[in-house]
Symmetry: C2
Subunit: 329 residues, 2 copies
């Protein structure tokens, strides 16, 4: 089976690549070839038991999507998009990359299918940003799409296209609305969502972290490990069981900042918690107040998607996968 | 105030034009100029107390949208789209006209606003086709967008764009999800939705009509007169009261085929009802089974949108507006 990852150089793309290299298969189907595409050079895994090739190119540029699709991959992971803040600050760029790039991809798949039948599984990473306030206490599988950012709008539009093209049999799409990834590895960043990871990642290695919001702020999380599991499950699931509603709220962990800190205390003690410096920021607080806090992800659970079991598991996954099991500074 | 109607030659466009000519105003604002645009030649009203000009052109062709917008109309009604059956049979045409045409329009408005500030009211006619089965007994204002046709997909995408461009202050959009128009004037047509009008319109003038579905089939209706009222209300409403969710389920009348026939009997007697010939058609029945039957249109009602008061009012509007008050054949 030939697998294509678009946006392979990003954090999730690299983790997915490592997982596919380790497993050699998705579900019961062995991987024979893996193509890694991104706008930047993508590192290739050293230990893969299958052919790996890389493509550097922008999906929204002429010919790139058609060229990727001409190799007729059986499974396509589309992880490519610019992030929320960038899409908000640069409107045309956001629509070009996050919407038009996706249309070029699905229209290339459609065009490929007019030659000889071709209907690949397309796993699209959407986002809980397709929802906007006001929210119910738990967001159900039937809650309206009402994004309050251009990024969320672009994701919602791609979801609608994915469902229509799937309904027409032009591709076999599954859209997954990823929770906020936590603990996000790497450096602290200035994105509003960064604080949820920063206050754990930095203290776990003895570094100070800034907390701009109150302890009772609640949000919706999945570990990078759970996110990779969502992707491979979405690639191997029976889409007949999914039906016409191809876009899914995924399960996650709903937790407050206070619950995050309590988990940190259990793993790394009071000394780690003391590294969190409170610096209230009203702008960040206002942005986060517009975000979903909890979901009742019935359909995805029934379809076999599995979240982390607890917030402690989210912290544990980070310690195992990023810190080699060691805590401290 | 300069008003532009795109798709002015269609049934609703002509009725809206006649209403604007009769009123000379939308809400409290007088009309000084009316531009009527369509892909075909548009008739102009004889009795308008303001300048009327017509434009023949396809919104999805280069330059047409920019040219229409360059006159900086204060209110734009966008009624232009190809119908559901056409969009389903001709996928590329549907996406080109119903989606790309709309994007050209809103991007032209945005470009115009970069010269000097410009933020017109844009009234977009969406459809209950943005929803797909399974439905609750009454569809709420918070029900998910899950269209099961390309037409519904295109309308849902335009809604999302309308909301995002409005949020950014690039235009001042209101999207209205029109119920099925009944009684639709004109000839019987083969659209699945045609039967709801056919079984009234034809018997009211002594002609036979074919009924392909059962008496207990329920659907959601508004008269052409109510639809025109929705449009003018959407053009004059305070959008601050609408908030960020710019797309509205409109109020309507939920009625079964049996209730339609009972209304016909009250106006035109048993002789008219006898003109309905039952010819069950499973294909039509299956299509209609996928359509919404009832809504709880709280928000639109709170915002002052008013439906017909009863199904009898729908029949009465037709008799008054189309038949000069006379029933019979």
């Amino acid at each position: 089976m030939h697998t294509l990852i678009i946006g392979a150089a990003g954090m999730i793309g690299r983790k997915l690549t490592a997982r596919l290299a380790a497993d050699g298969a998705i579900g019961s189907r062995g991987i024979t070839r893996l193509t890694l595409a991104d706008v930047v050079e993508t590192p290739t895994p050293a230990n893969a038991g299958f052919a790996v090739d890389t493509v550097t190119g922008d999906l929204s540029s002429a010919g790139v999507a058609a060229s990727l699709v001409s190799a007729r991959p059986d499974v396509i992971f589309d992880l490519a998009s610019i992030v929320s803040g960038d899409a908000e600050a640069n409107m045309e760029k956001g629509y070009r990359i996050n919407l038009d790039g996706f249309r070029l991809l699905i229209d290339s798949i459609r065009a490929e299918g007019t030659k000889t039948p071709y209907c690949p599984r397309l796993v699209f990473t959407s986002s809980i940003a397709v929802f906007g306030t006001p929210f119910p206490a738990k967001i159900s599988d039937e809650f309206l799409l009402a994004p309050l950012t251009s990024y969320g709008t672009q994701k919602a539009i791609c979801e609608l296209l994915l469902a229509d093209y799937s309904r027409r049999g032009l591709l076999d799409g599954i859209g997954i609305r990823l929770p906020t990834i936590c603990i996000r590895p790497g450096k602290p960043n200035l994105a509003a969502s960064g604080c949820f990871s920063n206050i754990l990642r930095e203290p776990l290695v003895g570094q100070e972290a800034v907390l701009p919001v109150a302890d009772d702020v609640r949000h919706w999380f999945a570990s990078p490990r759970a996110a990779v599991g969502f992707l491979t499950h979405a690639a191997s699931i029976d889409s007949a069981a999914v039906g016409s509603r191809r876009n899914l709220n995924l399960p996650g962990i709903s937790a407050t900042i206070g619950e995050e800190i309590a988990a940190l205390r259990r793993f790394a003690g009071e000394r780690a918690v003391a590294l969190i410096r409170r610096e209230p920021n009203e702008t960040v607080a206002r942005i986060i107040a517009g975000w979903p806090q909890d979901f009742d992800a019935k359909r995805a659970l029934a379809l076999g998607f599995r979240a982390d079991a607890s917030f402690d598991d989210i912290v544990r996954a980070h310690i195992e996968d990023e810190l080699g099991g060691r805590i401290g500074g």
